[in-house]
Symmetry: C2
């Protein structure tokens, strides 16, 4: 394919026309493949609205490059096409001098609004809400509402619902634009919905996600502490938020910071940095198991065969505990259980672990009898240790996420690696104590 700079005027305009029709996400991806000169050329020829929409989708480096190319007038046009959330996300990425230049394009009231949005804590509802919405009072009639709507300059996806407030700005209900159009002669009260579900700006974004999911909402209104309507979260934003939360959870379970960018694009050294800290910490804590084995080395010298069952015991404990942890984390996330249910969870896992433990210990006993040439006492030592290890692992695995929650930590952080260390240590202690008891070593 020819470079953009080599195209004649007609072909260039054909190309520009094609790019103006592209979805902004695809346009941004295309623009990131251009070199600096081509990028400048495109920025010049593209429709400003299309350019603004693509701008919001560019990665940080390209946003900076585009800002450096645009004169103040063009930048103002781009900035005016961005909605509040795009502005906030952009500002969070840019260096101070560019933030200043960008904020300079906004009028006073917009600027103070953006500053307020920037102030909401990370992962709060306030940090992911938009402020574009049409609000109406209950006494307004269809014509007044439609006029308000017609005068609004928001993106159309924000206009499917009209929010009803009282004179104190309190949210009292909502109204679908489609109902307003479909039932024009009806009393508005018959089409206003009053079973309105809302969240607060400082609520956790994961809580908002659960609410949207539970009530099947495509838009979730947000109020401040006084109940005044201040923003709206849309389900498509929430998809992104959930994707991030999941990735974070998965990564935390392996003791890694989340990686937001494309796997293959991230340099190996960055991957290395994300992964090494936890591995080192865990390697050092794992030496604990080493000391336990050294402490009991008289037992091991007396019966080297005992070493052969250590990995099976540790793995079984790790797997059993991991299951409990996963189930409890999921239930915590969905709000099915909370800290106050600790005793109930403990009892339930105790019950489950006895069933699981007996089942595994019996199978293990039969397997050893049939396949291994070891004494019955060794067999009993291993099988009894397995039973107790499973019970211990399920209890530890189910309680760790609650401990995390108690200390206001993401429960996921307590899972995976920490679980392994705790379960390994206790399973060895159980094993050797039972061995010294039963085998008299």
């Amino acid at each position: 394919m020819k470079g953009l700079l080599e195209l004649n005027k007609h072909d260039l305009m054909v190309e520009v026309n094609r790019l103006n029709q592209l979805h902004e996400v695809d346009l941004a991806a295309y623009m990131e493949t251009l070199d600096s000169e081509e990028f400048l050329l495109m920025s010049h020829f593209l429709e400003k609205k299309q350019l603004a929409e693509a701008f919001a989708e560019l990665s940080r480096d390209y946003k900076q490059e585009m800002m450096n190319h645009l004169n103040d007038e063009d930048l103002r046009v781009v900035v005016h096409h961005l909605d509040s959330m795009e502005l906030v996300d952009t500002i969070k990425e840019l260096p101070a001098n560019l933030v200043k230049r960008l904020l300079g394009q906004l009028d006073g009231s917009k600027r103070s609004l953006i500053n307020q949005l920037l102030g909401y804590p990370e992962e709060s509802v306030g940090s992911i809400m938009g402020v574009e919405m049409v609000k109406c009072l209950a006494e307004e009639d269809q014509a007044q509402i439609l006029t308000k709507l017609s005068n609004s300059k928001f993106d159309p996806e924000y206009l499917q619902i009209i929010w009803m407030i009282d004179h104190n700005q309190h949210l009292v209900g909502y109204l679908y634009l489609s109902d307003l159009i479909r039932y024009p002669h009806d009393d508005l009260n018959t089409i206003i919905q009053t079973d309105v579900i809302s969240v607060k700006t400082l609520d956790d974004q994961e809580f908002a996600s659960n609410i949207m999911n539970k009530y099947h909402l495509s838009l979730l209104p947000v109020t401040d502490e006084e109940g005044c309507l201040v923003g709206v979260v849309s389900a498509d934003i929430m998809l992104d938020v959930m994707e991030e939360e999941f990735s974070e959870d998965m990564a935390s379970m392996q003791g890694m910071g989340g990686i937001d960018e494309d796997y293959l694009k991230v340099p190996a050294f960055v991957h290395f940095k994300k992964r090494i800290v936890w591995l080192l910490i865990l390697m050092v804590t794992a030496t604990l198991t080493g000391y336990i084995i050294q402490r009991y080395d008289a037992i091991l010298s007396g019966s080297v065969i005992l070493a052969a069952y250590i990995p099976m015991l540790m793995d079984s404990g790790g797997n059993a505990g991991g299951q409990a942890t996963t189930v409890i984390i999921r239930s915590l996330t969905l709000g099915e259980v909370a800290l106050k249910d600790a005793a109930k969870i403990f009892l339930k896992e105790f019950e489950i672990s006895i069933m699981v433990g007996i089942c595994m210990a019996l199978l293990n006993m039969v397997r050893i009898m049939v396949m291994d040439q070891v004494s019955m006492m060794v067999n009993l030592t291993v099988s009894l240790s397995l039973l107790l290890t499973i019970i211990m692992a399920k209890l530890v695995g189910s309680m760790l996420p609650l401990v995390g929650t108690f200390f206001k930590q993401d429960p996921v952080v307590m899972a995976g690696p920490i679980l392994t260390t705790v379960v390994d240590t206790f399973s060895l202690l159980i094993y050797f104590e039972i061995a010294s008891l039963l085998l008299g070593l």
Copy 2:
């Protein structure tokens, strides 16, 4: 609080009025707390629309109970208030005789549509799409479109977008209702959006979720293989789908089937059944490590201290491999990498693992020198084994999800438990081979 049956007529009507105002999700939760007689009473007094909406939210048992209580006429009213997706979800839950009774309330065309929807494979886009939508031809004008909209009986959330098709039913663009209202005198062509993104009925729901996320869509149109518009997926449905997929992924990583119901409500025996199979399989495969240790027991008898480092080696390998698996599964899920990138991934993980391995081996060597009383050769054996174990674990961990993908298995199933077994086995082999080489045992 008094039971519903003890209320006098006035108080009962006050209560009914309150319930008519509730969000249907909350109403359904409330109805599930009623006994059979109260339930019947409520079903009688509630507005039929409200009753129908709550019906869709009831759990299976209560749906059956309500259907047994309702006469054919009332059932018909309830059924007519359900949208296609609610019908499909309900039918999937009911026993055959009730399905027949329910389908009997539908007219022929609706029934055949529902039957078609029931035929889409699980986890396909077709199985989660709705068919409620307003379609228009490009030559229709504003008045015609608004008439169509006014005649539609769909839930208002389906009406924010009007889909533009050609005479062959092919999807060619879309139009926001709010734009149609806001810009009534504009040529429709200026407000029709042609950068329309769509998926096909047989695409995987996770693919659709990625598309909605990437393009920030609140509604995603669905076409059949010929490109004809047949349905729409909404972002709030997708939130539910993602939640399920994530729970499933987490559960699979621990070798458990997903549990859809509330943790505390599920009997311990059901939890037991979900967990035991994998634990037994893994316990048996873990005996492989036992055999390896037995095979090398001469080495272990010669130097019992070697046993002390087995857990650390196995845990470090497991953790390092788990990180690689998690990262690759995430990238596969997001579509950042695919099977064809196997070589690139292999090389990248090789690079990362060398950095990680050297770093860990060095720290380990220093730690052993400072803290343990063992010979330099034992130290060297352990540290070298650690380096090789990390490299092996990262490579195995990154390749396993790809192997799963190649065999058309969910990559997640290959992670967790299988990874542990493979990494444990290889790390022991590495350790003992190096020990016999360096220590001459």
